[in-house]
């Protein structure tokens, strides 16, 4: 929880300072901030705190930091403002955490690498004369999950993958022409069923890797 607070504080502070700097240049206040030369293709680095929704997951690993790289691009450059707010995005995440089995505290680790494709809707569209653009996003997320267990009594490695989904809300502000700061909360969903493990002493179980992520990002707008 402290980590979430820290991320939010940093992001808000960053965005605020960015707005101040831009306002000093009187760009927002005069609506000259609209720079039609920018096509609003963006790339962002967005670390966030990964809070597992599953109690079972939390008991083994608790939460941790998720690292995400996102690219987004508007789909329409015309005059219709409603349509100009639509962007497509693609993201790749990386989350890795060590943990311990629930009873005997055997060491175990998990690595989750989801790849996301989705749609973002900015309001107002990026490039408009506002200090902050809010957005909502939704997408499909394909998970690659790798687990490694340091115990002689269970299968050492279990890998699964599968499709999930995500939704997100956030706010993004321009710091200096090309640079943006982002603040977001997202929720991702995927519950894996039990994989096939042939053993008379081990029972396979599913695991829910769904999470709520809260974090901030820095990006570059082309």
């Amino acid at each position: 929880m402290k980590k979430i607070t820290l991320w939010i504080t940093l992001a808000v502070a960053g965005i605020s300072s960015g707005f101040s700097a831009t306002q000093d240049e009187s760009s927002f206040s005069t609506c000259e901030c609209t720079d039609v030369s920018l096509n609003n293709f963006m790339i962002e680095f967005r670390p966030s705190y990964f809070y597992p929704l599953s109690n079972h997951f939390r008991k083994i690993f608790s939460g941790g930091v998720d690292y995400q790289l996102t690219v987004s691009c508007p789909v329409y450059w015309g005059q219709n403002e409603r349509v100009r707010g639509i962007s497509l995005f693609a993201a790749a995440d990386y989350f890795s955490k060590d943990g311990h089995s629930t009873y005997l505290k055997d060491k175990t680790s998990i690595t989750i690498v989801p790849v996301t494709l989705g749609v973002k809707y900015f309001f107002p569209p990026l490039g408009e004369c506002v200090p902050v653009n809010v957005y909502v996003a939704s997408g499909m997320k394909y998970y690659f999950v790798h687990t490694k267990n340091h115990s002689d009594y269970v299968k050492k490695r279990v890998n699964v993958n599968g499709m999930g989904g995500m939704i997100e809300v956030g706010a993004i502000g321009v710091v200096r022409e090309h640079f943006v700061l982002d603040l977001f909360v997202s929720s991702s969903f995927r519950c894996f069923g039990a994989p096939s493990i042939s053993s008379d002493t081990v029972e396979s179980t599913g695991i829910n890797v769904s999470s709520i992520n809260a974090g901030g990002g820095v990006g570059y707008r082309f």
């Binding site: 629930t102 005997l104 175990t108 687990t147 267990n149 115990s151 009594y153 279990v158 002493t201 029972e203």
Partner: protein
């Protein structure tokens, strides 16, 4: 008919008495002078001893107040010659205070290099060759104080606790290991003692049991504090006496807990026991003798082993006494008179700080200084102890899930309480009649069995094994 009935009752009573009795039985001659040494004449040198399977190591001061070692070889059954132990630490004023033994090494502490009365340096020494050579660890420079240093531990590390008259607000502690060549001091500090400290502090314990320090506060009551993390934190000191006239105390431990003994200004002798299972001291101290134990120097001394605790003290007739308890002190054996000629050094002349005692197996060695300046010893055998042990008093078994991200294994966990018998050193674990493991009696009485087949029931048995490798019947439990 009435006569036969009376005889039968008498026989039953005798048998019950024998079964529950633990006593000390003398070996060999009454007592013997160890070598021809002369106890130091400066101030209160102490004879200390400690035993291993190889023999017993005794430390004492010679007539020049130098620290000396003498070794009793179990093979030859004889005391060796005096060996001057630490030439650089002459002019002993206090100690050697105590030895802490693991199977092959001994650690001693003393105060030496005195300049004036009760001033000098507190030292610890490590030997792995029966005292032939020592590696010295200076603990504290003392000016006008008398640090009596207690030490306890094993090759994993040693805990020192001491008291300095010049800094009487709290006992000092130091945690150190010996790397084979040198002492390596890991941490040190003071034990928070709201009541201050007014008399010697000492300590007992191992890495597996933790360490208990005990001392006499400025209100002349005895206090104790426990650390389970090598001095990282100490528990709030617990006051264990209320009389306000406690004079000397000593503490010893074994796998079951810590035994604290003390004498007071009314010549009474008390004990109390800290149970490691319940982590509590006895509700009130046990009065062992009334008015018969000298309340001053030498103070009472206690030492522990798997069998129990041996207590030694000086009585008001200047004779050494001993007693043994195979439990938590509820049943101290009747006192045995180790000497009967009133020759033990008392509160005048050459003094010994206590009647030293060591337990190795079923053998107990007592050592003391006599009023003529000789070190003396007497061996005893513990009687009525080693019989086939009873099984653990109770056992429970439970099945748990050990969850991994995509897998769950079942594990069976057994917990049992210690055997009420004496000398139990380990417990054997059986699964469906087959021996699967053995655990030390000095550790946690818990065993986790894995892997377990789902839906399959297992019958577990736990037996107690004593130091003679006698094994009890099994306490059993079915787990599914």
């Amino acid at each position: 008919m009435r006569k036969w009935l009376a005889l039968f009752v008498l026989f039953c009573g005798f048998m019950l008495g024998v079964e529950g009795t633990v006593t000390l039985s003398p070996e060999g001659p009454a007592y013997e002078v160890i070598s021809s040494m002369t106890i130091g004449t400066t101030v209160q040198p102490t004879i200390a001893n400690s035993g291993t399977s190889a023999g017993f190591l005794l430390l004492c001061a010679d007539g020049n107040d130098n620290l000396n070692t003498v070794f009793f070889d179990n093979n030859t059954q004889m005391w060796g010659s005096l060996v001057q132990t630490a030439p650089s630490t002459t002019n002993l004023t206090r100690g050697p205070v105590v030895l802490s033994n693991s199977p092959s090494v001994a650690v001693a502490t003393w105060l030496g290099n005195t300049v004036g009365f009760n001033s000098g340096y507190a030292y610890a020494g490590f030997t792995s060759n029966n005292g032939t050579s020592w590696q010295i660890l200076p603990l504290e420079s003392v000016d006008g104080g008398v640090p009596l240093v207690g030490v306890s531990g094993s090759s994993d590390g040693y805990m020192f606790v001491w008291f300095d008259y010049q800094q009487s607000t709290a006992p000092f502690w130091l945690w150190s290991t010996f790397n084979g060549t040198d002492w390596v001091v890991s941490s040190s500090g003071t034990i928070p003692a709201p009541s201050g400290i007014n008399n010697p502090a000492n300590v007992s314990g191992t890495m597996s049991t933790g360490f208990m320090a005990a001392w006499i506060g400025s209100d002349n009551n005895v206090y104790a504090s426990y650390t389970g993390n090598e001095g990282g934190t100490w528990s709030t000191p617990q006051q264990l006496s209320t009389s306000g006239i406690v004079r000397y105390s000593w503490i010893a431990g074994n796998a079951n807990g810590f035994m604290l003994v003390w004498s007071d200004g009314a010549n009474n002798l008390y004990s109390t026991f800290y149970d490691l299972s319940s982590q509590m001291w006895q509700a009130s101290p046990l009065l062992i003798t009334t008015g018969a134990a000298i309340g001053s120097i030498p103070g009472p001394y206690v030492t522990g082993s798997d069998i129990g605790f041996v207590l030694s003290w000086l009585d008001t007739n200047n004779n050494a006494n001993g007693s043994i308890s195979a439990d938590n002190g509820t049943n101290w054996s009747p006192a045995v008179l180790i000497t009967d000629d009133g020759s033990v050094s008392g509160t005048s002349g050459n003094l010994g700080d206590y009647i030293g005692a060591s337990i190795v197996g079923e053998t107990v060695l007592f050592t003391w200084a006599d009023a003529s300046g000789n070190a003396q010893s007497r061996f005893y055998t513990i009687q009525g102890v080693i019989t086939t042990p009873d099984p653990p008093a109770s056992i429970t078994g439970s099945q748990f899930s050990n969850n991994f991200p995509f897998q769950r294994e079942l594990v069976n966990t057994l917990r049992w309480t210690s055997s009420p018998s004496l000398g139990v050193v380990s417990y054997n674990i059986y699964r469906n009649g087959s021996l699967i493991s053995s655990v030390s009696a000095s550790g946690s009485l818990v065993y986790t069995d894995r892997p377990i087949k789902k839906g399959t029931g297992y019958t577990y048995g736990v037996t107690a094994v004593n130091i003679n490798q006698q094994e009890s019947s099994a306490a059993t439990v079915f787990v599914k």
